[in-house]
Symmetry: C2
Subunit: 479 residues, 2 copies
């Protein structure tokens, strides 16, 4: 069957307005947003209902045509870019963008896959609730993509990743069958948890069409603090001390090296160091209460910090006096990547290690990388509370040809960093998933048992290999 | 190969002391603890290390000998009883009973599969922490079994089921490969979550050998209250009100019909109604703080209950004045099943529905069952906060031949209750799993997509069907 015939079949099934074939309309969706991966596809399918998705998948299965599901196309690992050979069609979920229901009483929102994250934030806020997961791409990223990549963010310490927030799921499996699992059941032991399997599967086992999502109370009071500490080990001691004082209400706990802060102060206008003393490491903490109680978060945090200063865990500390100051503290954290980029070309890694090992990893792995690749500067910052390290290796000072440096050294540095992560019992993908970018490294580093299980599940669900081909599962030659 | 030859091979592999062949020693492990299921096995394998488990599974795979993993043998659904034809061996994890590590700083305990739940409770308490999952069989139930059945209990509202408490897992897959996943990573997006797949798999996809488990702070202060309410709908309104006042600190929220309370007061010596007014329904609430703060849980609960009384959601309320009273309140709840049994033969169901639908289900399903089966009395109680209903249908008054009544009417009543659960968007197994008991009903009621997915995963992991045969997955003729 020719490509034209295939498109004619999908058009007959879905109607012309749900099949985009104009090359100019398709073009923006063929590359990832950072321009690293480029694919080809002769059409984008845009179903509007779960039944239409199911019909499209059934037809794709009949014709053995691969499908690449796409939401906001904000993948960091090329997870939504179609193959370059044009063999696949894109299946966009963007028109399935309704919030089917939102019940503040039940703390539940039922969202279709194409709902944009910031729209859910707004809807929850209007109902006096909060959806406690956010990230930079919130204005484009969709619920389906966030579920399929098990997205994280800065609030994972308290509220968990997307996995912890999905209470029910609806999906179309690779044979076109609909998995009806939207009912939010806190206790349900009817065998293997299919929902958990689809979360983080990057569209390789089926297409998420809707989800029941957990809401939490709106923030009634918050306190944001900046603390100078001697080392990452002190930062961890501070986290434990804050947890003892503040319990579950610690929502964010970020660790930043002083040189990272320095880059922000140099490159981002209007920023200033929140404390008078410059210490080797810094902590940004956010404490949130869902109710108004006495003592409030600022008083509680003050108590914890007084003890930390007395015990020498902290050297200096400031609590934001108002919302503007709190925003200014967070702006430093959110500007770290941008100011790092202003320092020159760098390789950036999204990895995680067990929380207890994170202080040593932040110091030792950076030193080891600098020794192994002379002239480079390695640094790390991250969410200490959940073990997520952002690890950067910057090209030697004066490097002007960034792509050339990456072409020459990228693979060796990748392998070095990932080996260090594996040695520390960590994960080579904390938040972003595997997609195309980390597929070969997953093949190289995963245990035989894990690889065997991944491949067996993929083959069981998708024997034809039509769901998001060439993503996540290492190729045979890759391990 | 004869049965004797098979045992000789396992004895050569594991050593004589790790292969039990004496019929008297085997006998207690061939039936479930309620005496409903009876099997046969010529040996019990008792490995002491993960490597020995892996070696035993490899040999079983080579010889195509089915294995039935067993912990405390406390399954409620015949999940650990071997097949009656004697084709399988029992693989007991009871000798793998070490707590490999326990770190209060990291709030983590690494336990082998055979650790008994109450031993973990004790170890956590000795370190100033708490493992927040408990159930009646805690003196026998093992960590491996609790994980394999995704056990629940009364604290699920706040802390989740076993699934939420397992941070890492080690398991032997059906080909004898070891899945090494003990590192506790809060963020890890390396493809399908194999850990989640093994939790609740009832030993049909492999054998859990160890787990990293989350600990929480010890209880610093608690308050237990008893509240009389007009209806289950008022109980739900009370739960929402308490959540608004008390946030995350509501740890238990049980709803009890007045006739259930009546049975306890009639049959259990030393019990008395905690409030002066007899209302149609009752709520037992527990509020726990992990820290000492002002207001404490009793003051917070008092504030919530004052509002509930004023709004007419509650009719009467009492807060336990001391630990002895708190225990007395809980004793009523814990005596419900025993006092129900004293009322005569009954069928008992462990089901769940979405929380929002639970008030209507408790009233309507009971009334419908009594209409459909004249002379029976149906009642329900349960964990309102997590949608778990314990639904009982008692034989008509004067029925003396309980087994006869169940033989005559059991299947019809089962089908009636399960149909009602499915109609309410619920699960026919909230806590106990499927095992042998609910396998046919799962086959009858699960959607084609769910059944297909269950069977595909089972075939992918265990193509020979040697892991806990005839459990969980409906037979071909069952749906």
């Amino acid at each position: 069957m020719t490509g034209q015939d295939v498109i004619a079949r999908f058009t007959a099934l879905l109607g012309e307005k749900r099949v985009v074939t104009d090359a100019d309309d398709i073009a923006p969706w063929l590359s990832d947003w950072r321009g690293r991966y480029h694919g080809a596809a002769s059409a984008i399918l845009q179903p509007e209902t779960t039944e239409q998705v199911a019909a499209a998948v059934r037809l794709a299965a009949d014709l053995s045509v691969p499908l690449v599901p796409q939401g906001g196309n904000t993948s960091m690992v090329g997870g939504a870019t179609p193959p370059a050979d044009g063999s696949a069609l894109i299946l966009s979920l963007r028109r399935m963008n309704h919030i089917r229901s939102l019940s503040p009483d039940d703390n539940l929102a039922v969202c279709e896959a194409g709902v944009i994250l910031s729209n859910l934030h707004d809807a929850a806020a209007a109902a006096g609730r909060r959806f406690p997961l956010s990230l930079g791409a919130k204005g484009s990223a969709t619920i389906g993509g966030l579920i399929s990549t098990n997205a994280g963010g800065t609030q994972v310490l308290r509220h968990g990743t997307m996995r912890a927030l999905v209470e029910g799921l609806e999906a179309v499996l690779p044979d076109g069958g609909i998995f009806h699992g939207l009912d939010a059941l806190r206790k349900d032991n009817r065998g293997y948890d299919i929902k958990q399997l689809l979360i983080g599967a990057e569209g390789t086992l089926g297409i998420v069409t809707a989800a029941s999502l957990r809401l939490v109370p709106a923030i009634a009071a918050r306190a944001v603090g900046w603390i100078g500490v001697p080392s990452p080990a002190d930062a961890l001691a501070l986290l434990r001390l804050c947890e003892a004082h503040l319990g579950d209400s610690v929502e964010g706990f970020e660790v930043i090296a002083d040189d990272g802060l320095g880059h922000v102060l140099s490159h981002i206008p209007g920023t200033r160091c929140p404390i008078a003393t410059r210490t080797p490491w810094h902590v940004l903490i956010e404490v949130d209460h869902g109710d108004l109680r006495d003592p409030g978060p600022a008083e509680q945090l003050e108590g914890a910090l007084a003890e930390a200063l007395e015990r020498g865990i902290a050297v200096d500390a400031a609590i934001a006096a108002n919302e503007a100051q709190a925003e200014a503290f967070w702006r430093i954290r959110e500007s770290l990547s941008e100011s790092e980029r202003a320092q020159g070309p760098a390789l950036q890694y999204d990895v995680s290690v067990p929380v207890a090992r994170m202080p040593a990893f932040m110091v030792d792995a950076a030193a080891a990388a600098e020794r192994a690749f002379p002239g480079t500067t390695a640094s790390s910052f991250g969410h200490l509370g959940d073990g997520n390290v952002h690890f950067h290796v910057r090209a030697p000072r004066g490097t002007t040809d960034g792509p050339g440096w990456i072409a020459a050294h990228g693979q060796a540095i990748n392998a070095f960093v990932h080996d260090a992560v594996v040695a520390a019992g960590g994960s080579i993908s904390a938040e972003h998933g595997i997609g195309q970018m980390k597929r070969a490294e997953l093949g190289r580093l995963a245990s035989p048992a894990r690889l065997h299980a991944l491949r067996a599940i993929k083959a069981a669900f998708d024997p034809q290999g039509i769901m998001n081909p060439d993503k996540l599962i290492p190729r045979p030659e890759e391990g």
